[in-house]
Subunit: 367 residues, 2 copies
């Protein structure tokens, strides 16, 4: 009997004994969200005193809910493709994360919950493969005069191979998202565990910094100043910290940088400004701008010689699509080789796209 079969049987037996579902993973869905067999989703929220309750679900937008018995408001939306969808309730104009959902979206200015639809096997799900670890560590930034936090993925068996060194991917959070977002929402750990197990991706360390660290600064601090400070702390503080504390291969062909949205912009800006340090660049639904390193586009052949992969993905329904397309055209015109990926069905500027792009691009790093 193979291991998977045994696990399924054990699971079924337990379900029988204890009337448990044969779930495959920690974190059962919230009772506030019921995924129906046709992949529609019924949302429920109790607010007996409210006059108006809506749900905002990233596959459906903001929709009215209807008041039913015991002050429970409900609506059924979809169907939609299985994925992880951020959502929240809007109670008389106030946004409310689902109190009963343990999975949440780490952000500075809103709190969404995460609906994890598990009606099809997806690349971001935990599987019966060797697993890496996700570490929360704190580095001191002399530049900022404070401790900053990093979330760091190490691949399976990292601790069991104390002499082995690994390439590193610096993966930067987008505007208002914190350093946890590529773990809690992006599921980069499970995506990499699964790709590594398939032999589809190289083993690597992934470093998740806090891209636009506005929580470190007073409200209203100029975002360009913050971006500048982030670039300095990334190159002069975060990279040395990582290379001192983790077993990294410290050469440009073993370093990648990228990110989502503004994090993608920061990834490209820092990567292109430091082509002596990075050979792999990834842009996920990014705001893109050629302004920071004009020499890169002026001399495409030279740029090409320094880059192993220039990967760009964007949804055609993303509000940044036109911007991304113009930037891709500039790369092509400059003779800079790049790999493009477009989606049409991942709901625009969302983490459904960010995860999809991760899956596609992680396969190409360090090869």
């Amino acid at each position: 009997m193979n291991k998977n079969k045994a696990k399924l049987l054990a699971s079924a037996a337990l379900a029988l004994c204890f009337n448990l579902p044969a779930v495959a993973q920690w974190g059962a869905p919230s009772p506030s969200t019921v995924v129906n067999p046709d992949n529609t989703v019924t949302f429920n929220f109790r607010a007996p005193n409210a006059k108006d309750v809506k749900v905002n679900a990233q596959f459906a937008g903001t929709k009215d809910m209807q008041k039913g018995e015991n002050g429970v408001w409900s609506v059924t939306l979809g169907p939609t493709a299985p994925d992880i969808y951020p959502y929240c309730f809007v109670v008389d104009g106030v946004q409310v994360a689902d109190p009963q959902c343990p999975e949440w979206f780490p952000n500075e200015t809103f709190k969404n919950s995460l609906l994890d639809m598990r009606t099809a096997p997806l690349i971001h799900e935990v599987r019966d493969v060797p697993h890496g670890s996700v570490d929360y560590v704190d580095y001191y930034s002399d530049l900022m005069g404070l401790y900053g936090r990093l979330v760091i993925y190490t691949p399976p068996h990292y601790d069991q191979n104390p002499n082995k060194k690994y390439p590193v991917f610096y993966l930067i959070s987008g505007t208002t998202d914190t350093e946890e977002v590529y773990f809690k929402v992006g599921k980069v750990n499970f995506i990499l565990d699964n790709l590594i197990a398939e032999g589809a991706a190289k083993e690597m360390i992934v470093v998740l910094p806090y891209g636009n660290p506005s929580l470190y600064f007073p409200k209203g601090t100029n975002t360009f100043q913050m971006g500048d400070i982030f670039s300095k702390t990334l190159i002069n503080e975060i990279m040395p910290f990582v290379e001192k504390n983790y077993r990294t291969i410290n050469e440009k062909d073993s370093r990648a940088i990228g990110g989502f949205s503004r994090g993608g912009n920061q990834g490209l800006a820092n990567g292109l400004a430091n082509l002596d340090k990075f050979s792999y660049l990834c842009s996920y639904s990014s705001f893109t701008s050629p302004q920071s390193s004009p020499e890169v586009y002026a001399n495409g052949a030279d740029t090409n010689s320094k880059i192993k992969l220039f990967w760009l993905g964007v949804g055609t329904d993303d509000f940044l699509y036109q911007n991304a397309k113009e930037y891709m055209d500039l790369l092509d015109k400059s003779g800079i080789k790049n790999t493009k990926e477009f989606t049409t069905d991942k709901h625009g500027h969302t983490w459904m796209n960010a995860r999809y792009f991760l899956d596609k691009s992680l396969r190409l790093l360090f090869k």
Copy 2:
């Protein structure tokens, strides 16, 4: 110039340049909470359409807020001692976590935010000392037929000493709290970093399991069944996983077990039922019961010979105080040596007590 002085100066210089506060740590307070110089706290929440807005702050209970300009409701509460206090807003009867606060309380059925008052140096704050790492890892439970998550603290320099082995403390979350709670709220990582740096605590690994894993099971699953399953997975699955994947000293005098509230009950129950495996027991604000291991109390001398530390802390204003007191009396009557700690000023059955008890008891482990 010493390092601390240099850091303060750098911080002050940066604050001057960029008009930044000289904060010492990631995670600035939310703009929704203002700590005043007299240690009162002003809470603000925008809800223009609400009829009634309250704040629930764990140092003050639930209090009405007053509606002011632009639909912003406010109230000033306290003064109170500097600490980390859970809070939420209650908008027309609906509990709302502070959208602008990045620090949150990991719980199954409510979402509170965390007010971190930094007006005095406290043992749970990040300091200029060597830091450990907090790892999120997933273990497969054959018993439950699913992946469970563990949060694991490794002490400073763990990765730099690949041949060194460490004692282990299994620290169990209380009812409805998840495996993240002793990290995100309990700050066990910073408390230990600080105590280790002072030479006040031994270096150790701390394992945070999900004590009463109700999210793994359908709503309404019998809690005693869940407790029983947890005990089995702890001893037969979690401990072997930890001992395989971390460099633990695998003998009873290098193992401690404890927890908060029901987690404390689970810690004592599993510790006392397995005195061949654990020599250190810690109970923090626990519901206590002698029922699971009557032989322990019937033969106090034998029990004493197996235990290096039996530590119990409870607030005299905790709703479980009477229960804890009766249990302590039973220990004394049975001739079982134990160390007691009582508080009067930590607001009852709260994490202000849980952190305080950690600080006191971690100093005594593995000595």
